[in-house]
């Protein structure tokens, strides 16, 4: 009892410490937002007034209307500058400035995403280590979390360095635009800098304090610090997102681009939250992919069975966390696109039905490849388990479903054709295949793909387990009914969409998503409950997996990287010839949309550059590494995270 009380006291202290951390570190944010929102920030217009002027002579405060919120506010900023093509507004180095900025920004974004995602993994894995009763497994989790943060530490320095390069590039190549943007976002940028310092401090204390804070109450403080670290990281990301969201869907300024004194309006543009959610999920999936690729690389270069077992396990955990965030990602993307259409229909059409539509076809291919690869890895992973052979016979049917849906998913709505081809086909759309190029079919296809991935995971969970609960037959029957009817419902909704008007049809995506999520949550939960106390058919032999599976992990990571580059390019390109949409025009010679080929080459270059540098980071991380501490001999079972098999 006394032990319990002591433990409870420790927990209370840990939570109090966490609350204090969060409160203190986020204080600058609240202070600056309140000051900005109340219009107390120094106003450039007001500051130009002569200090000796009497109040009676003071000009009345000019008011103007917010372009998005439609509210009136005092004009406290200068109008958006009208730039001209010349060295004043667009200085250059005999090279396309946009391309230089593109590379700098993309690299910063890759590293930023990585260092945002990895501490979240670290937090989850360290927490699992604390709550796991098995001491050996707890030590393994702790070591894994430490490995994660060690990888991200070098990457963190590179992120900061790349951030400096981005600012330098902006200042030297787009000075007028950058000055305008920073004049509006001044309080946000100050907060960003403060939070960056707070994050750096927390990260270094977190990393270097690992050994000192290994036990008891201090361990709780340590894991609390990881929560603080991630809160700061997420807020940093959201602040950075507010700049790009403002460029795409400005708010808080009038039609001339004059700041109206409400910084919250500037931050909270209509696309801000969809971008936040989409980026957070995307970063997590990307981070999982990169760590899994690291583990795969170490697996492939391992000299001993012990090392292979460790890195196989590490790759699985990273892939598992990454895929958990990959599954909701298409839904977040759908929400973002829906908001884009709601903001400016033309922008949505440019994205998905016009100039940039073919890039979405490439994106569809990448998403399909991601899910196919994930399924493939799970099927390969079943090789580690005795007893999983009984599910092998279902795989061919799942491949058929996945490939069919993949083909529908990537069918283009319209094709680029010569007049002769157009005539031969009888129109812009193929009489049969054209039916699959619409959202009704595609929504059905992607939801079927995701549901099948969930089914693969359930099979993987059950691989070497035999449920022993009395109600297992009923549970199995329920799983059968749930998945069968889910497939029927998704396909029914896809077909139904062809027979109703567009304004009703667009709503069908919500029940489709709800169906998929039902399978995910109900199916996985029910399966996990059924597997409590299940009979083991054999151990999970970590390290005994095909080499192909590790290449699948590398493929996952590369696909994530390429897709991030692609989607970033699409989102940025949709502004066309605007720096800030409909507010500040881009008058540089590069205000045009590149060809798909050029864009794809640039994305590939960025991907290659990132992977070359991250390999260097991995190599740096491996210097001075002690032998991997494996507590269980190769070939023996190493327990998995809660909820897994």
């Amino acid at each position: 009892m006394a032990t319990l009380n002591k433990q409870a006291r420790k927990n209370v202290w840990a939570f109090l410490a966490l609350g204090t951390f969060v409160g203190l570190l986020l204080l600058p944010l609240f202070l600056s937002l309140t000051a900005g929102a109340s219009g107390e920030a120094p106003a450039p217009a007001a500051s130009t007034a002569p200090p000796t002027a009497k109040p009676a002579d003071a000009k009345p405060v000019e008011k103007s209307r917010d372009v998005w919120y439609k509210t009136e506010g005092p004009v406290v900023g200068a109008p958006a500058p009208k730039t001209t093509d010349g060295p004043k507004d667009y200085p250059r180095y005999n090279f396309e400035s946009r391309v230089i900025l593109w590379v700098a920004l993309q690299q910063h974004l890759y590293y930023g995403s990585f260092v945002l995602a990895v501490p979240i993994f670290c937090m989850v894995v360290e927490y699992l280590g604390i709550i796991t009763k098995d001491k050996a497994l707890a030590r393994k989790y702790d070591q894994l979390a430490y490995d994660f943060v060690k990888i991200s530490l070098t990457a963190y320095s590179l992120t900061a360095l790349l951030g400096g390069i981005v600012i330098f590039t902006f200042l030297t190549l787009y000075p007028t635009f950058f000055t305008y943007l920073s004049s509006i976002f001044r309080p946000v940028m100050a907060t960003y800098a403060l939070l960056f310092i707070a994050e750096s401090g927390t990260l270094y204390i977190y990393y270097y304090g690992w050994d000192k804070m290994r036990e008891g109450f201090l361990k709780w403080i340590h894991v609390s610090m990881s929560v603080v670290l991630n809160v700061i990281g997420t807020v940093l990301m959201m602040l950075a997102n507010s700049w790009i969201a403002f460029m795409q869907s400005p708010a808080g300024v009038d039609a001339d681009g004059r700041y109206l004194g409400n910084i919250w309006h500037v931050i909270h543009t209509t696309l801000w939250n969809p971008i936040n959610v989409h980026r957070l999920l995307g970063n997590m999936a990307f981070g999982g992919g990169v760590v899994a690729a690291y583990a795969a690389y170490r697996f492939l270069t391992s000299k001993s069975d012990e090392e292979r077992a460790h890195y196989d396990w590490m790759g699985y955990v990273a892939m598992f966390i990454g895929v958990c965030f990959l599954i909701p990602l298409p839904f977040a993307g759908y929400w973002l696109m829906r908001e884009v259409y709601a903001y400016r229909q033309q922008m949505g059409i440019t994205l998905m039905g016009g100039l940039l539509a073919w890039l979405f076809i490439i994106q569809a291919v990448m998403i399909g490849a991601l899910f196919l690869t994930t399924n493939y890895y799970l099927w390969q992973g079943m090789e580690r388990m005795r007893g999983a052979e009984r599910y092998q016979k279902y795989i061919k049917y799942m491949v058929f479903v996945l490939i069919t849906c993949f083909i529908v998913w990537l069918t283009p709505h319209t094709m680029v054709m010569t007049p002769a081809e157009l005539k031969a086909m009888g129109g812009q759309q193929h009489p049969v295949l054209g039916n699959y190029g619409v959202m009704s079919a595609k929504n059905g296809a992607i939801n079927t793909i995701i549901t099948t991935t969930v089914l693969s995971f359930i099979m993987y969970q059950r691989g070497n387990k035999m449920p022993t609960v009395k109600w297992a037959p009923l549970g199995n029957a329920f799983l059968f009914g749930l998945f069968t009817m889910a497939y029927v419902n998704i396909i029914w909704l896809a077909i139904y969409g062809y027979y109703i008007p567009a304004n009703v049809r667009v709503g069908l995506s919500v029940p489709q998503v709800a169906t998929t999520l039902s399978c995910l949550f109900i199916g996985v939960l029910l399966n996990s409950v059924m597997l409590k106390g299940a009979k083991d058919l054999g151990p999970t032999v970590w390290g005994q997996i095909s080499v192909r599976s590790q290449y699948a992990l590398i493929m996952l990571a590369t696909s994530f990287t390429w897709m991030m580059g692609l989607m970033g390019y699409i989102r940025s390109s949709v502004r066309l010839f605007w720096h800030v949409n409909e507010i500040m025009r881009d008058n540089s010679p590069w205000a045009f949309t590149h060809t798909i080929g050029f864009g794809a080459n640039m994305i590939s270059f960025n991907v290659l550059f990132f992977w070359m540098t991250i390999l260097f980071v991995f190599w740096l991380g491996s210097l001075g590494v002690k032998k991997v501490p494996v507590t269980a001999p190769a070939g023996q079972k190493i327990p998995l995270p809660a909820g897994s098999h």
């Binding site: 009984r390 199995n476 029957a477 329920f478 059968f480 749930l482 909704l493 139904y496 039902s518």
Partner: protein, 49 residues
Amino acid sequence: MAEQVGQISTGKKIAFAVGSLILAAIYFTFLDWFAMNIQGLDYFYMFRK
């Protein structure tokens, strides 16, 4: 998913399967209606027009 089902009679297996299919059908129909309703849309649009 059939390992434990083998321990019960075929009749029961069929009854469980049919029962779960009916239950899931009711659940998904409700889900479709509800998800459309919260968006202010009519799930049974085609059947009413």
